[in-house]
Subunit: 302 residues, 2 copies
DNA sequence: CGATGCGGTGCAAATCCGGCAACGCATGCC
DNA sequence: GGCATGCGTTGCCGGATTTGCACCGCATCG
């Protein structure tokens, strides 16, 4: 949108922390950028940046203006989406910030299902841990978030939430696989592989272990849930994941057993968006579909 | 604001109903205007106007866009006001739509009082009857409205409301002036002067008269409350006005007597703004002052 | 104390945009 | 039926705005 170009530049400068860096990012010269910003500051009636010896930084007025711009841009996109919708085109773009657990099975299936009905809609999928997903929403960089056990924020509006008991991933022949439900103690006594600290599942495991005076001591600690799933079969260690990240009927090499609820708190899969925001048509409809799918998932297992 | 100029043009075209007329209004040529609009339509992805043989008209997409623009502009103004405020300048502009009764005494006093503290704030005062005042708010053309007995609208958010019994204005020596309270019947039996139909006071008088099978039959019917006030002394007829439109201690030529409440319903002076809107700082503070002044007025009399 | 990187500025080139005139078209009027 | 009027629209050109380049003053740092 052309009439918002100046704001895009302002945002770039704010992000880069210096006009010259921002100018390079935006493929214009520093002088052009500088003049645009000074020009706007004059028109606006107040400086937006503090000029420091090694760059610039937004002042309070600039922060306020950036807020204005971000909501303004978001509104404009929603408007375009609405207009495209009433023209019968059902076009649009959905940006979603989600936990890694959603990537292998749940989200691809859902996106495919949605795009089958509305091929004009495109997607951006960002992997964000719990805290950063909410920052994404707050700065309008994502429309919706789908995360496991997010940190609580007042600006987060929950659309749907379902429980997700933490599951142990076992190789098919593992002795513990005989039991229908596992104790955390048994898992910790065996070699195991766990996600690193920023993930929700690990957080719950750490809490539970500390409560019983133990520690999670994985042979491998990783940021990749995919690595966990695949490594379990190779060495015969125990992995952890929530159900939504597991294919209900694997090929027989792995089996999944829930951890006892009295040991490890049940995780929650939460779908939400920024409180008070009106989503673009496409994002709103996709969120509705996700909510229904979560509901079905929950009902199907409970 | 330069970056919103295209929207201003779009608004002008929507208002004029034709590009050539709008171009004349905005002091540019029709071709320039046309190109701006076509250019924006292309960038936006959808036409905004239906092209008719004798002009243009907004289509639904255009209506939506105009909404977006008006809130966007209003937000920008509020932002500038906020920034000026945090710079300690207390600048800004307040646009107020009000009933005629407020013009002679109440509003001038209030504005003077506010400007004494904040000389940087300027005012626009529009005279609007009850219905049009609310239309002004809805299209962001006024910040606040101060009207007598407004028609009810869901989008109107009441900040303060005080009762205003309808008063009769009598020449000092008038026989009816002996009574502390007048009956409507007595007034109608004497020659009287009344505001025309669109005004709140007249509306209440008409309702009351009809209830007792009478009619308001003024010797003069006028849109000017000032004329009413001044004419009463000249011919000795009875005029009508709400207290806020009357100077408490006149020079002795006139006296004011309330009409019996069982005859004529008490009017209401209402201060409000558009529901859900966040006012610019200056407008919000001025509205707060007005609210307090109304409160004091009410307490002082009751 | 030179090198580096910063924001800001003078000047010429390039780009954008507005005004003028004209076109195609529909309508209204003799 | 022709003529006039008013509408949106478009090619062309001149002027205003913006951009890129080179450069300045300044602060920091090795």
């Amino acid at each position: 949108m052309r009439h918002l170009y100046t704001f895009v530049l302002i945002e770039a400068v704010a992000r880069a922390g210096s006009m010259r860096k921002a100018a390079e990012d935006m493929n214009i010269t520093a002088s052009a950028l500088n003049r645009r910003i000074r020009g706007f500051e004059e028109e606006f009636g107040s400086p937006l940046f503090e000029r420091l010896p090694n760059g610039v930084r937004l002042n309070p007025a600039g922060e306020l203006l950036l807020d204005y711009f971000r909501t303004s841009r978001s509104d404009m996109q929603r408007l375009q989406s609405q207009v495209a919708d009433l023209a019968g085109e059902r076009r649009g773009h959905v940006t979603i910030a989600c936990s890694q657990a959603l990537l292998p099975y749940f989200l691809p299936a859902q996106i495919a299902r949605y795009r089958k009905e509305h091929p004009g809609v495109t997607f951006t999928v960002k992997i964000r841990d719990r805290a950063r997903a909410e920052a994404e929403l707050a700065s309008f960089q994502s429309d919706i978030a789908l995360v496991v056990e997010p940190v609580y924020m007042v600006e987060f509006e929950v659309l749907q939430a379902i429980p997700q008991p933490v599951m142990a991933i076992l190789p098919a022949g593992h002795p513990l696989a005989a039991k229908p439900e596992l104790r955390l103690r048994d898992c910790l006594d065996n070699p195991h592989i766990a996600p690193s600290a920023q993930y929700g599942v690990r957080h719950l495991l750490d809490l539970a272990a500390r409560r019983m005076g133990r520690k999670v001591a994985p042979v491998i600690e990783t940021e990749s849930f995919e690595l966990i799933r695949h490594y379990v079969a190779h060495e015969g260690v125990i992995g952890f994941q929530v159900p939504v990240g597991l294919q209900p009927d694997a090929d027989g090499a792995l089996c999944f057993r829930p951890l006892a609820e009295r040991d490890v708190a049940v995780a929650t899969l939460i779908l939400g968006h920024l409180r008070g925001r009106t989503l673009p048509v496409a994002a709103a409809r996709f969120a509705m579909q996700l909510g229904a799918a979560m509901e079905a998932l929950h009902a199907g297992r409970g």
